[in-house]
Each structure stands twice: as C-alpha cells, then as structure tokens.
Amino acid sequence: MKKLVLWMVMAPVTGLCLSFMYSPSAVNHPSSKTGKLIISFRNSVDALPLELNKTYINSLQEPFKVTRLKYYISHIELDNTSAVITPDANYFLVNEEAPVSKTITVPFPAGSYHRITFLLGVDSLRNVSGAQSGALDPLNGMFWTWNSGYIMAKLEGRSPASSLPLQQFEFHIGGFQGRDNVLKKISLAFPGGKPFVLKAGKTLTIDINANIQKWFQGPRSISIATHPSCTTPGSLAKQIADNYAEMFSIVSVTD
C-alpha cells in the first residue's frame, strides 16, 4: 500500500516533468500584434514588363530573349524587424515561370516602418548545412552538385550575339565564401520619406520592380558576345552580381 501511494504521487510528477522537458522550443506564433506583409515582385526590361521568350535589346545593343529567371530572396526585414516565421521558412525563390512565386506573404509584427531590407541569395550558413527543403530543395535546380552551393540568381536565354550552341546564354550566379562571395544585401527606402504603418490584422503591400537590364549594365558592362556563360563562382560572377544588385526599386507601398 505504501508503494502504491508513492506511485500515485510519483507518476503524475514524472509525467509532468517529462512533458516539460520535451515541450517544443518556443516558436514564434503569429500573435494579435501581427499583420501581413505582402511583397510583390515584377520583373522588367527597363520600362517594359518582362515576358519570357520575347525579344528585348540590352544596353549593349544586343537583342536577347529570356527563357528563365530565378532568384533567391531571404532574411526579409522592415527596419530592423524580422518576419514572424521559422528560420527554415525564411527563403523564397522568385521564379518568372511560376507567377505565384512572385508574391511573398509573411506574418509580420505590427509597426511603423521606413525601409525594406533583404538578402539577394542564400546565406553562407545554409550553403554548408546539408540537405534542405522548401525553397532550398535541390529539386528547384538552384544547387550546384559538383561544387556545393546555391545558385543565388539565374538568368538564361537566347541571343544572336551568343557564340554558344543554339545562341544560348546562361548566367548562374553563386559563390558564398571569401572573395567569391556574391551575396547582396538589398536595402530600399520607402518612397515619400514617411513611414508606412502595418496594423495588427491588416496588410502592408510592397511592390518591387526588378529591372533585368541591370544584369548587363551596372557598374560594369557585361555583353553576351564576350560572356555568353557564367556558371561558376569567381570574378565574372562577382561582376554580374555587382550589376544585378542594382536591379531593384520600389514601385509602391500600400498600407
């Protein structure tokens, strides 16, 4: 009987202790102080909306068509505040072929904000952390298998200026370590100089334009004739990344 009493006390105590020990680590749950941040990307060639397989002219007077355009957006912040999502969910692949991928919706703390910041690419830690899922799944065709690492941004197309078979050109831009690092932190101030307010339960929508022309013409001129292909980390990839880092601009912010 004594033993029984002891059990009656110990069992619930042990049970409780165990349940505390294994309680899942605190995850940020969208709370009542959270609104929704919607970032909508549109791609263009200068003032013209980008359409796949349509001919445009780059600033070096080379006609070109885009067949594929993809880039990673990660670590989105407004001022110094981050989205209310798990670290695993902090990566987005904008893919011109998949219209839904061009709109990113994340729960975000309510507040008054002046600027948006994000990383164009995948941070170095995730490049060395083994098998990933979601936007980082190697199925997305953005992972180099022979030289581990993510392709941060990819532009493929055709141009008569290219000397490659089928007049292809392909820019697969990656590299995350040391002097090959092409990660770009993009920071865009909201227009009008005044803050925009995200209220709890409401949305803040940011329309961002990415001008593909910048891949060819930024701090450097990259002509398809001289560089029809860039598929490894290195100095050419860095130059192209310096160029495309300038492609984003805010079209509008709506609160």
Partner: protein
Amino acid sequence: MNVKRSTLSLYFIILITTSFGLMADSCSKKVKNNIATTPLQPDIPEGFPKPVYDFENNPLTEEGFALGRKLFYDGRLSIDGNFPCASCHQQFAAFSSYDHSFSHGFNNAFTTRNAPGLFNEAWQSAFHLDGGINNLEVQPLAPITAPNEMAESIENIIRKLNKDDVYRQMFRSAFGDDAITSQRMLKALAQFTVSLVSADSKYDRFKKGLLAFTPYEERGYALFKQKCATCHTEPLFTDGSFRNIGLPAVPGIDDLGRMKITGDPADSLKFKVPSLRNVNITVPYMHDGRFASLEACLQHYNNGVVKSATVDPLVADGIHLSNTEVVDMVAFLRTLTDTTLTKNPRFADPEHKAIFSPDRH
C-alpha cells in the same frame, strides 16, 4: 476494500493514460504521428576526434539507417537500374571500386576519378578528391545527376520510390509520414554512409594493446610516423588537407584537382590527402587510380615526384625508402585493413542480391 481497490485502479488507469498521452504529445522528436523511431548512438571510436558531421541535425535512428542502406543498394537511384551507389562502392573493398581505376557508370561511361573507400566520413569536412562537396548529405546529388555515373534526376527517383509501398512504409517509419522528399532521401543516405566506421584493424588492436605487431610491421610503423604521418595523420590517417605530391596531370583528363573548385592556381594539382585505412583493399591508387600496387605508390614517393610550383615541400625531394624499408612499410600499411567493416552484415546489401556480375565489378 473491494470498492477502494477498483477506485484506485481507475485512478491509475486515468493517470497512466493521461501521462502517457502527455508524453507522446510532447516527445515529438521520437514519436511522430504515433510512429516510434529507435534512436541509434553515433559510433565514435575511442581516440577519434570530435566528428565534423552534425548528428544533431540528423539524429540517427534504426529506421533512418535501414532506409539509407536500402537506398544505397538500390539500382532505382540510377537511370537504367544498374548503377546503385554500391556498384562503385563495394563493401568487400571498404566501399571503393575494387580493381578499377575509373568506375563504370551509365552508358559505358567512366568516371574521371577513382572511387575512394567510404568510411569515417563523419570526420571529413570536405568530400571528393577536390573537396568540392561541403556536406555529406548533399554528396549523393553529384553521382545521381552526373551523366557518366547514375544519370538520373531526383524528381524521377522520387517518382519511382513513390510507386513502391515498401519505400512509402520505410519513409513513414523513419520520418513520421510517407512523404518522399529529396531532403529525407539525402538524410537517410547520410545516416547509412556516416555509420560506416573503420576502427578495428590490426593497427587499432595493436594500439589498444590487444596484440603485437611483427618486427616488419613495427619497423614500418616507426618509418611511417617519421615520413608520412604529417599528411596521413593518425588516427584517421589523413589531415584533411589538399596537397600536390607531384603526380603529373594526365593529358586528355587534365584533372587540376582542388583548383577546379577554388579557381586558384595555387591549388593546381592538389588533391585531398586520402585516409590510408584499408589501403591494401582499395587498389588501385591515387585520384585517377594510376598505380596498381602499394609498392608503386612508394616508388612514386621515392623517385617519381615531378616538381612544380605547387608541389608539397614534404615530398618535393622525394621520400626515400630502401628496399627493406619498402617491405616494412607495406607490412605496416596492411595492418590498416579492417575486416569488421568489410564483413559487417549491417552494412551489406539488405536484400542479399548479387548485384556484381563477375564481368562488371
């Protein structure tokens, strides 16, 4: 008393069921969707350094290991069904390609490098002879998608596996539900490859004082510590660095090694220092399998080193061994063979099918 007893037992039943309910709910790591996994402890031999592999990110389980093992031996990971991982990584050869300088892949194509043995991978910080792969988990993407190896796509493998009830059941057992994803497949494969530990050779038993070396082996070991151990460092028999030991590039293949990854001319002709564990059974030798015997390797160190800007100072002037020293050294290198690894039934083909026809191993 009777009443008392039944109330008591009722109390107990409620208590036990609720506390179990609570536990099952909260131990989500070990019990997912009411599917229990059996945790496995990583095998970390005495005297080995801390593993590089992040076991916390991929906790070993009996179920994950079993799935990885099945995948490793499954031809469906290759386009025509003929080239599972195990076709190039054979257990009896410490998971290297025995007696082939280049391994056979799809469509009679050859790999451009010699398949190394697979063991003690948890202690490697870079994979492949050029170190191009930075994590064991993503390594399989390279052979699976290479046109001269398995020539398959991950999408297609997932499609094939999804058609197989056994696989769906095994993914469920290992990961809690039967979704077959690249991440789960890669983590399971890593659970298998990371478990291939080699630490029970004659050398290891000698180090533990369990047996004695012959005089040849003893002299060979002394020589080894003096002339080779800077690069082939105990207990892993590699320091993980990339070095050029003066093997000239073969025209037509022109494998520049580490430079292929870094683009840095200072890395030209540097290759990862291979572990010498099991070296006697991983013939042929060097990144391209150019030497067919241990004696030929020693001959290279003796007088074959071709000097170039990146050749390692430790070997630039050769490492000279007399004929008797060569005999001693080879005797020592043979003590590194670990039959506990090559004969472990846990690492063998789970379906015991004979995948190696005599003309294609």
